[in-house]
Amino acid sequence: MQWEVVIGLEIHVQLSTKSKIFSGASTAYGAEPNTQACTVDLGLPGVLPVFNGEALNKSVMFGLAVGAQINERSVFDRKNYFYPDSPKAYQISQLYYPIVGEGHIDIDLEDGSQKRIGVTRAHMEEDAGKSLHENFQNQTGIDLNRAGTPLLEIVSEPDMRSAKEAVAYMRKIHSIVRYLGISDGNMQEGSFRCDANVSLRPKGQEEFGTRAELKNINSFRFVEKAINVEIERQMEILEEGGSVTQETRLYDAEKNETRSMRSKEEANDYRYFPDPDLLPIVISAEEIEAIRKTLPELPEAKCTRFMEELGLPEKDAKALTVDRDMADYYEQVQQSIDDAKMAANWLLGDISALNNKKGLEFKDCPVSAEQLIGLLKRIKDNTISGKIAKDIYLAMFEGEGDADAIIDKKGLKQITDTGAIEAIIDEVIVNNPGQVAEFQSGKDKLIGFFVGQVMKASKGKANPGQVNQLLMQKLKK
């Protein structure tokens, strides 16, 4: 049978507020256990939540960025369940009246076309603490530093039909929240996590199949792998005439398999009801419009601008604008050297390649925009060749300093003195009589050989333009 894959994602984005959603404790990552868990975060008897307005602001920004309805009245509900990382034994969330209603985003498919994915809703909630299993025998340690960190849960429509589409959607959401500056999007630290609902149905069937929910996947790569391995698992069951069980599953990256998480599912009945300690959140149309005015330029608008104002091809403009850090870096470099094409080629070429090779996100690239500007200026003023520049970039990447210092230290300054270049050319001609004869008998392609020899002899420092020109003169004689 032909199966159709149906995927919906729930993405948990940690909102980058300084203090927690319902308390004045810090949200900074990596503190000693329970040093950032105050009376409210610990759920001590008698404490009460007070809502952080910045979480609302950031959530509304997201809603506006995906063209969603902002609900002028939203309500916090309690989701009741016992678990040690949930100190009050309920999570404050929004079930019945979320802050953000229906919206959508467009994702790019591999064949170059676009697809619209619906955003069902997005709601604010508090994060749980962490359970640590490693250091204790038969016990689990609970760290509540993360408890109460504000989250925006973004729920998609079941509009995706492959793992690749799911990844494209997730990347797009990641790009948007980074652009908006509402989250650092740091996946290692858990600031951007994803649950995937995956089901299969016979092609052409309207009705959805039974889904499995894959919990807490924290990288783009794992999302694709986890969904694909889950699709395979379900397909096997269905092909054999079995049926998929509706359940929560955990992806094990090491074994590349998903497995059932029964312990968390035990007779769940969350008994949602409006949190009586909090009042309805009301935001006026005027306030929403004021927030709209603070929205930064989003990837799509930036891409169009790069194409129109800078004359970049669509492919380059898109690639430069996916990641806000890269786009900002690019604009800084481009404006400073006034060469849109050169800056684009460097960023999308060597810099991206090296970052990828080292597994770095763009924001973690060790070469600053100022450093790159210093390097590219030396190409433009003919101090160095493009080829030498690549070596200098590597040296900057390794932390050897700025371009000028490296040029000085390594003596990489380009040879532009005609006499010096001619001397090298003369030597090459003398050492390669056979090739000279062949060239002069009409084998024009050999010019590349001579250029190469001259560059090699000059250790790459000769100005390639001058080399070409002088070689032609001398060889044509």
Binding site: T39, L42, G43, L44, P45, G46, V47, L48, P49, V50, F51, R78, N80, F82, P84, P87, K88, A89, Y90, I142, D269, R271, Y272, F273, P276, D277, L278, L279
Partner: protein
């Protein structure tokens, strides 16, 4: 005798240098030591802290820095978190809980220069109408030690009636200040919901709970409320409405005051003796020039069932944090996580608390939420609307605070529903978030009867004024139980 004085009189005595706060505090500490064995009204005594606070208060007064309650010895209901002091909420669950922080109310009293004598006994997590659900034993009524003091603020009511503190605090979710005030013959005020901060007051039902003063007189209640009322940034449900000086209007005349008597409050179920006392109190107001009108609150019969959905639902969730992990009681050698939760909670909570958690859990569970909780929220609005309509016609509503005088210990323990009905006249006020008072209005069979006054939202000053005028004309509030004179 110092212990027979009101706060107002004690403040004057302190100011005149007739006695110091240390002397006054010691007097109360001695009385408690001598007399509280009969009553069991304290869970925790804090004599050292009290004497230290008293010393500070005397020093402050000497320095000319006199807070509103400087040097006045108070008892605090054990529902308020007090830093460094056991805060048990009447439960075994919190027997090991030494609060690491102060409730806003406690901070306010500390700033006013008040002295804390100790923490008073109460129904477990404020769930009860007789103080019999306390894990620390029943409190006895100072007027008759075979009778209950009412609940849940039974310890606080008994302490004031027996002159073991100048005043105390209570909390009222369905009548827990007014009903024990009525049973013990003292003045109790439940303010408008949101008037007094709930921060650090251990939650029973968050949308109903409200703290208030329990005192000998309305004048003292006004003074206490001056300290307790106000907007608290730590409580989202606390209201940013200006706080008047509640003493300012005490002496306004009640001439022309329109008093509404809901006919539903005087129908079947009301004890005849209580009815007579209330009727004569109303006559007293009539004598003072007030205008009496019969009104109707047709949905008031829905109050008890509505309350017994909303309060248990909220409490089932509020009490879930008592899980033996971060504070409070933890069972021995839990074999796994479920066992830790089930046994810690099973051992820590008493039967009434369990009953309410079960009812609330059931009412919120899948398939029942709309039929119970949402339905009750709708009837809650109907009840509230009734009051709004009534207040179009009258200034204050009056009636009994409870259908009977204090019943005997053990009399209703096997019958939870009859027990619930002892709050029949008070519960609707919490559902509507209105301010309500109970003031001593007389006796029936030698037991005190409380007159309930209900006002519009934020009309505490009006209620206190109306109560004070009654206390100027009568002396019921001055009566003390013989054994505690």
């Amino acid at each position: 005798m110092m212990h027979n004085k009101t706060i107002t009189e004690l403040s004057a005595g302190l100011e005149a240098g007739e006695f110091s706060s240390v002397e006054l505090t010691q007097t109360y500490l001695d009385r408690i030591k001598l007399l509280d064995k009969q009553l069991n009204s304290f869970i925790t005594m804090t004599p050292e802290l009290a004497l230290e606070q008293a010393k500070n208060a005397d020093a402050q007064r000497a320095a000319g820095n006199v807070g509103l309650l400087n040097g006045i010895p108070l008892a605090q209901k054990d529902i308020f978190c007090t830093k460094g002091v056991k805060t048990s909420c009447g439960s075994k669950m919190l027997e090991p809980f030494i609060s690491p922080y102060d409730a806003t109310t406690i901070s306010q009293f500390n700033e006013s220069g008040a002295v804390m004598l100790g923490k008073t006994n109460m129904d477990e997590f404020a769930m009860g109408s007789s103080n019999e659900t306390s894990w620390y034993g029943t409190v006895k009524n100072p007027w008759n030690t075979d009778a209950v003091p009412g609940g849940s603020s039974g310890g606080s009511a008994a302490v004031v009636a027996a002159r073991l503190a100048a005043a105390s605090t209570g909390t009222d979710t369905g009548g827990s200040i007014r009903q024990p005030a009525s049973f013990c013959g003292i003045t109790g005020l439940k303010p408008t919901y949101g008037r007094v901060s709930r921060y650090g007051m251990i939650a029973f039902a968050s949308s109903l709970d409200q703290a208030g003063p329990m005192t000998r007189t309305a004048e003292d209640a006004a003074l206490m409320l001056n300290v307790m009322a106000g907007h608290d940034l730590r409580d989202s449900t606390s209201v940013d409405v200006a706080v008047p000086d509640y003493r300012a209007d005490l002496n306004e005349s009640v001439e022309g005051l329109k008093i509404g008597l809901p006919k539903e409050f005087f129908s079947e179920g009301l004890n005849d003796g209580v009815a007579k006392v209330i009727e004569s109190a109303v006559k007293e107001y009539e004598k003072m020039g007030a205008i009496i009108k019969e009104i109707s609150l047709p949905t008031s019969k829905l109050a008890v069932p509505t309350y017994y959905i909303i309060a248990p639902s909220e409490c089932s969730s509020n009490l879930s944090r008592m899980d033996g992990v971060r504070f409070g009681h933890r069972c021995e050698d839990p074999k796994d996580l479920s066992d830790l939760y089930i046994r810690s909670r099973g051992e820590g909570f008493g039967p009434e608390v369990k009953r309410r958690i079960l009812v609330g859990t059931y009412a919120l569970s899948e398939g029942f939420y709309d039929a119970y909780y949402v339905k009750a929220q709708k009837t809650r609005r109907l009840i509230s609307n009734d009051f709004n309509q009534a207040f179009d016609e009258v200034d204050v509503i009056m009636g009994p605070a409870a259908p009977s005088t204090a019943f005997n210990i053990g009399e209703l323990t096997d019958d939870p529903i009859t027990m619930y009905l002892s709050d029949i006249y008070t519960i609707a006020v919490n559902l509507a978030g209105l301010p309500g008072m109970s003031i001593p209005a007389g006796f029936s069979n030698d037991m005190p009867v409380g007159l309930q006054l209900i006002g519009k939202h934020f009309a505490e000053a009006k209620l206190l004024n109306v109560a004070h005028q009654f206390q100027k004309e009568t002396d019921w509030h001055l009566k003390a139980p013989t054994a505690f004179k």
